[in-house]
């Protein structure tokens, strides 16, 4: 635990089906990698559908807005760091259903500025995350049966499924 009492933050990437890419769904705070995985499953994969989770500690996620990408591409890069592998996530739309950062592939580069040069498509995306591959943890394929399969057998009731008629009490109408 850090001095301010906050546990470290982990970004969570969920894969909805084996044919789809992992996409950022949010974050959890957790004490360590194993705890983070279990929290991510509880928070993001309780309901359908998920087949795999990736997590990365916040410090291993390098974020770039479209403006930052444009600026970085216009600046001569320096290559001081040793080569490392990054997982590349792209945000390509502002539409609510498609706004997530989606996994598009990997790149090996010396530092983030070299990595984004190699990974940025011709048409600038709305944003890019470079995630240090060595820091990524993933749910194990063997866990899928216990972690993700039970959700697909469950019936989740929407509010509308309860045949409750809402009648306002007269007092609440006069209240204000």
């Amino acid at each position: 635990m850090t001095v301010d009492g906050q546990l470290p933050r982990w970004e969570v990437f969920k894969q909805d089906a084996s044919s789809k890419a992992h996409a950022a769904v949010g974050s959890v705070h957790a004490a360590d990698a194993e705890h983070a995985l279990l929290m991510a499953r509880s928070v993001f994969a309780r309901r359908p559908s998920a087949v795999s989770l990736w997590l990365a500690p916040r410090w291993a996620v390098h974020e770039f807005t479209r403006e930052q990408l444009a600026e970085a591409l216009a600046t001569p890069g320096t290559q001081l760091a040793a080569p490392m592998r990054y997982r590349v996530f792209i945000k390509s739309s502002d539409r609510r259903s498609m706004a997530a950062y989606e996994h598009r592939g990997e790149v090996v580069a010396s530092g983030t500025s070299a990595a984004l040069r190699a990974a940025t498509p011709d048409e600038l995306p709305l944003g890019m995350w470079l995630v240090e591959d060595a820091a990524v943890i993933a749910s194990a394929p063997a866990d899928a049966e216990a972690w993700f399969a039970p959700a697909s057998d469950k019936r989740y009731k929407q509010q509308s499924e309860y045949a409750v008629s809402v009648k306002r009490h007269p007092a609440t109408r006069e209240g204000t």
Binding site: L7, V28, H29, A31, L38, S42, V43, A146, W147, A149
Partner: protein, 255 residues
């Protein structure tokens, strides 16, 4: 698949005990909703509570197929004295250390139990057990994680866990003790060997706790005859809360 009447009656008793263990435990764990030490754990423990209550429903539906009982009536309108829950489940919610230790002991018990029930000669029981077993694997990983971290966390977390072990461990004896009718089920291949189950659960859980440096107190004495004949003083107040909404309008069509 029909069972002989005496086997059916014995299985009704067994299923009721399974259901009550999960229902009462699930109700206590649900009490953490909005109060857990971390937002993420708040969601996680609510999931666990829902799962346990869902498993209670599964056992009561198996019972319903045998005796035509109504699961909702059994849960919300049965007197505390007619419940068959284990003392371990009936203990109050306690602190987070007690919560996770009790959950761990229960999850470890269920892992062994469900593996055996999945091989039951009574097909509906085997099928339900195999389904329930999947979720329990995740529960066990979660509760075991907390026991390990609290054991090696701070002085306070360890002290709290020591107190939890002192309360929870002795009650394992009653959780594992066979009901009077279990021998008939065992002989028919419907359930497992109670002795073998007890040995496996005690071996697994004691090894884990001893690994973390805990000294285990002796088991509490189990009443002769029916080990579940008596309830602890904690159950009646728990049911008063749990059943209050249903009892406030017994004929409600939806709630």
């Amino acid at each position: 698949m029909t069972l002989a009447p005496e086997l059916s009656a014995a299985l009704v008793e067994r299923l009721t005990a399974f259901a009550d263990d999960e229902l009462v435990l699930g109700h206590h764990q649900a009490g953490w909703t909005g109060h857990a030490p971390l937002l993420e754990e708040d969601i996680a423990i609510a999931n666990v509570a829902q799962d346990e209550i869902g498993h209670a429903v599964a056992w009561l539906e198996l019972r319903a197929a045998l005796d035509g009982s109504d699961p909702d009536r059994l849960v919300f309108f049965r007197a505390a004295s007619d419940y068959r829950s284990a003392w371990l489940s009936e203990q109050p919610r306690g602190d987070w250390a007690f919560t996770m230790l009790r959950q761990y002991l229960f999850d470890a018990y269920e892992a062994e139990l469900l593996a055996r029930l999945s091989a039951s000669s009574y097909r509906p029981l085997a099928d339900t057990a195999a389904k329930v077993a999947r979720e329990e694997l995740f529960h066990l990983r979660h509760s075991r994680l907390w026991v390990e971290r609290l054991a090696h966390g701070t002085d306070e977390s360890r002290d709290r866990l020591v107190s939890a072990v002192a309360v929870a461990w002795p009650l394992m004896a009653q959780l594992l003790a066979p009901l009077p009718q279990d021998a008939a089920l065992e002989a028919a291949g419907i359930t497992y060997s109670s002795r073998d189950l007890e040995e496996s659960v005690v071996a697994a859980t004691s090894a884990e706790l001893v690994r973390h440096g805990f000294a285990l107190p002796p088991f509490a004495p189990v009443p002769a005859g029916d080990p579940r004949a008596l309830r602890t003083e904690h159950l009646a107040p728990t049911l008063l809360v749990m059943q209050s909404v249903a009892r406030s309008d017994a004929d409600a069509q939806a709630w």
